[in-house]
């Protein structure tokens, strides 16, 4: 035993000492490390622009030489562009996922916003000697003079680069090379869209014209496009139809190994045969060949979609990706999905809102067919809009539904969450769009959300292995941790947002209704407020409030105590003698075993008529009028808390109000 204790003491001591050392070291070094990081990228920028500086004045020199422009990107992050006031050359910081770790750095472009002046990598964790070469000046010098291409961005090649947008790949580190040029390209496109008036749509338009053998040049491509194609937009879907050959083109986004892949495809007038296809942007590593090797996408040209919408014959295509099968498979799946969407919307006239409207009906347990869902949707729900939030209230049972959207592991997850009228209890959840890998079960596995039914956002839900409270739900995500985190976040925040916007729930509702229940006053959701006002006379003394029933003189008051799991709140009603129990109602608790005090409707039936003379007690076999049968089972903490609070509250209220009452 002594041995055991000394071991415990050692472990605790070791933990404490090492924590203190780590905290101390962090405290000592944090500022300097931040300063060094700032020093690293600012001096890199200064040297790119050939500006003189020294270690003490670099920050001032930096501020003096550059005009800072800022803009917010699509995710709400601020992006900064540093413009050299003399030369017009621009610099910005970039970052993105390498093969093993985040790669960060700064890049400087000439004033044409396309030609690379210099690149410095300030942080990376690639394999030393292989991918790690990406940070070496000697390698990065290869990028000088390379020009971002409108369509390809920058491409890493194994042979000698001969096109203006090609650079040498790192020997033996194709994955890192491709990821790196992918980061540069994606970040470049982002900065270009934020800070220049370049038409970001141009690559797509040009690709579509190439697919249709339309001749154009950089000066006239916009007008040629407008004259040759008809643009049709339904909801968020845009289709470009060639005026003479009726070929159809559209842009689409698929999942990938590292991130989304944007692409554009042209099909024949029947949406069956692929006429042309191009990738516009991606950040794949090994799978980068999808854009860099033109022959790979060429394999898809002439392929046909099966008329039953179910497949695209692409076996050879996937094989040609070698190891990067995820990229190929995600791309094909996304292409098929996009084609089917466009086909059903533009060719079959299917409503693009179908998916979520049907999901809403499913959640609300309304049976529908392909023909009548639209009518049912309109007749079932009352639509309320505030800012950009829309709430669908079920006309029959008052259930509340709203859409949520989040970024999962691969792509966007869209779903519908339906809550009961209390804005708390889950009716059902349906996911109607996703492109996850392991996490795909949230849409494909029927009954995945069955465990969620009846669980409550009080105020948030959580995923655990063994749920014991009403806000805990069994974690069914397996290894799909990113999907899980995204879903948890999306559900909790959307409920919060919608509650704040629409949930003008009366905070007094719970206890006022409990008071009415104790006094056997029947009420509805609409009239409880009026009944409450008319049934009771309210007397206050200090912070104590006594509610006297106007009809029979019963006395009620609220009590509050800490139970095993959290606060227990309830109402105790006594007869006018301040002694005999009329009833007890608990309206808030988060106990485990003791939850029965709220959930078991008959739990307090045994208390009726018992007397605080002067105190009550819980016993197994009650014989006196102050003894009540102990119904708490193993919930001893809850029991002790309840006994204590009931007895002391009665005493307090007696002292304050007895005699007057």
């Amino acid at each position: 035993m002594k041995k055991y204790l000394s071991m415990m003491a050692f472990v605790l001591l070791m933990g404490a000492v090492s924590s203190i050392i780590l905290m101390g070291a962090n405290e000592l070094t944090a500022d300097r490390i931040a300063l060094n990081a700032e020093y690293a990228w600012k001096t890199a920028v200064l040297s790119h622009h050939e500006v003189e500086y020294n270690d003490t004045n670099f920050a001032e020199v930096f501020d003096a030489n550059f005009e800072v422009r800022s803009a917010e990107d699509g995710n709400g992050n601020m992006r900064y562009l540093y413009v050299n006031e003399n030369t017009g050359a621009v610099s910005y910081q970039f970052s993105g996922g390498g093969l093993w770790d985040t790669i960060r750095g700064v890049i400087t472009l000439e004033s044409d916003f396309a030609t690379i002046k210099q690149i410095t990598v300030t942080q990376q964790g690639e394999t030393p000697g292989l991918g790690g070469v990406v940070a070496e000046t000697e390698y990065l010098n290869n990028y000088k003079g390379v020009k971002f291409d409108e369509t390809f961005g920058i491409v890493a090649v194994k042979d000698t680069p001969d096109l203006p947008y090609e650079v040498d790949a790192i020997t033996g580190a194709t994955g890192t090379s491709n990821a790196f040029v992918g980061i540069l390209t994606v970040e470049y496109r982002l900065m270009q869209s934020l800070f220049t008036d370049v038409d970001v749509n141009a690559p797509a338009l040009k690709a579509i014209m190439n697919h249709n053998d339309v001749e154009f040049n950089d000066g006239n491509y916009e007008s040629v496009f407008v004259n040759t194609f008809t643009t049709t937009t339904i909801d968020t879907y845009t289709l470009y139809t060639h005026n003479t050959n009726s070929n159809v083109s559209f842009k689409f986004t698929t999942g990938g190994f590292n991130g989304p892949i944007d692409a554009v495809v042209t099909l024949d007038a029947d949406f069956i045969t692929i006429i042309g296809i191009n990738v516009l942007s991606h950040s794949e590593g090994m799978g980068a060949i999808i854009q860099t090797d033109p022959q790979i996408l060429e394999m898809l040209v002439g392929k046909q979609f099966a008329t039953d919408d179910s497949s695209l014959d692409a076996d050879g295509f996937v094989d040609s990706f070698g190891e990067a099968t995820t990229t190929a498979k995600q791309f094909i799946a996304g292409l098929l999905n996009a084609r089917n969407n466009y086909f059903s919307i533009f060719e079959e006239g299917v409503d693009p809102n179908k998916a979520w409207q049907q999901a809403l009906l499913t959640n609300n347990d309304v049976t529908f067919t392909e023909e009548n869902y639209k009518g049912l949707f309109e007749s079932t729900f009352t639509v309320e809009t505030k800012d950009d939030l829309t709430l669908y209230t079920n006309n029959n049972d008052g259930s509340l539904s709203f859409l949520f959207e989040t970024e999962g592991f691969v792509g966007t997850i869209k779903g519908v969450l339906t809550l009961e009228a209390d804005f708390e209890t889950i009716v059902y959840i349906t996911v109607y769009e996703q492109s996850e890998n392991w996490g795909a079960r949230i849409q494909n596995e029927e009954g995945f959300f069955d465990d969620y039914v009846g669980k409550k956002f009080t105020p948030e839900i959580s995923f655990v292995t063994e749920p014991s409270t009403e806000q805990e739900i069994v974690d069914g995500y397996g290894g799909a941790t990113t999907t899980k985190a995204a879903m948890l976040e999306a559900l909790n925040t959307s409920v919060q947002t919608y509650r704040a916007a629409f949930g003008n729930i009366d905070p007094d509702k719970a206890w006022q209704q409990a008071l009415l229940t104790n006094n056997s006053v029947a009420f509805t959701e609409e009239n409880y407020k009026d009944l409450f006002a008319s049934s009771f006379t309210v007397k206050s003394q200090d912070d104590l409030t006594l509610y006297t029933n106007n009809n029979d003189g019963s006395l009620s008051f609220l009590f509050e105590t800490d139970g095993f799991g959290g606060t227990i709140k309830g109402v105790l009603t006594l007869e006018a003698d301040f002694e005999t129990i009329v009833y007890i109602t608990i309206y808030e608790q988060s106990e485990n075993w003791g939850a029965r005090i709220q959930n078991n409707e008959e739990f307090f039936d045994g208390y009726v008529g018992k007397k605080f003379a002067p105190e009550i007690a819980f016993v197994t076999e009650p014989s006196a009028e102050q003894e009540i049968v102990d119904g708490y089972g193993g919930a001893t903490t809850t029991k002790a808390a309840m006994l204590e609070i009931l007895n002391t509250t009665v005493q307090t209220y007696r002292a304050a109000f007895e005699g007057e009452a």
Binding site: S6, F10, M14, T29, P128, G129, L130
Partner: protein, 221 residues
């Protein structure tokens, strides 16, 4: 008198011979050659494969590992009478990680260029089995003086093998030595396999074979 004469006739052992029986020398020799952590004990080969495609990397990694082995072994040795045997492994882990993280923090704060050059190595050092191996095999039962010699010897043994492997791989993979072009290698066609992990496997295995044959170190049942 006779006795005196007899004594003087037995030649005094040479300095070299006497040195070979000093405890500190035995420990040093064991670490570097007889019980070399890589080729004999086959510890720490993961990092040996990863970083030996350049001599420069091998040297940096070798110094880093030597430093951490010495630091952690010294701490373990000092605390060896305090550490309860049941939790000693955890104690090693805590000491090693603590040491590495603190060193990394201070490097990043005060010697950022060195930290940038070390890059991913610091993380690799924590996972190096030699560090833990020496703590368990030596430091936990030996005084500080010998522990320092042992950990230095093992670090050097590790570094020398790393450099030996890298000295074979770098010229074959890149036609360079310590990043400088080797005379006569001007038209060298880079042998990519040597830059990758499989190249490390080949060279390491051949080297271990050679070393074991030379030192007649055979594993027998």
């Amino acid at each position: 008198m006779n006795n005196q004469e007899n004594k003087s006739t037995i030649p005094k052992p040479s300095g070299w011979l006497r040195l070979q029986y000093k405890k500190w020398f035995v420990i040093l020799k064991n670490g570097i050659s007889d019980e070399n952590p890589i080729v004999v004990s086959v510890l720490g080969i993961c990092s040996a494969l990863a970083v030996t495609n350049r001599v420069e990397n091998a040297i940096v990694m070798g110094i880093g590992v030597t430093f951490v082995i010495m630091g952690s072994s010294a701490l373990v040795s000092i605390l060896r009478n305090l550490i309860p045997s049941k939790v000693r492994m955890i104690a090693y882990m805590v000491i090693i990680s603590l040491l590495t993280i603190v060193v990394q923090m201070f490097l990043q704060a005060y010697l950022p260029t060195v930290a940038a050059n070390l890059g991913a190595y610091t993380g690799l050092i924590i996972t190096n089995c030699i560090v833990m191996g020496r703590a368990e095999a030596f430091a936990i039962k030996n005084p500080l003086k010998y522990t320092l010699i042992d950990s230095f010897a093992n670090g050097m043994g590790y570094m020398l093998v790393l450099i030996a492997i890298a000295a074979i791989r770098e010229p074959l993979a890149f036609g360079t030595f310590l990043n400088m072009k080797i005379p006569g290698f001007e038209n060298w066609i880079n042998w990519n396999v040597m830059a990758l992990a499989p190249g490390g496997f080949f060279v390491l295995t051949l080297l271990a074979w050679l070393m074991r044959t030379l030192t007649k170190n055979y594993e027998e049942n």
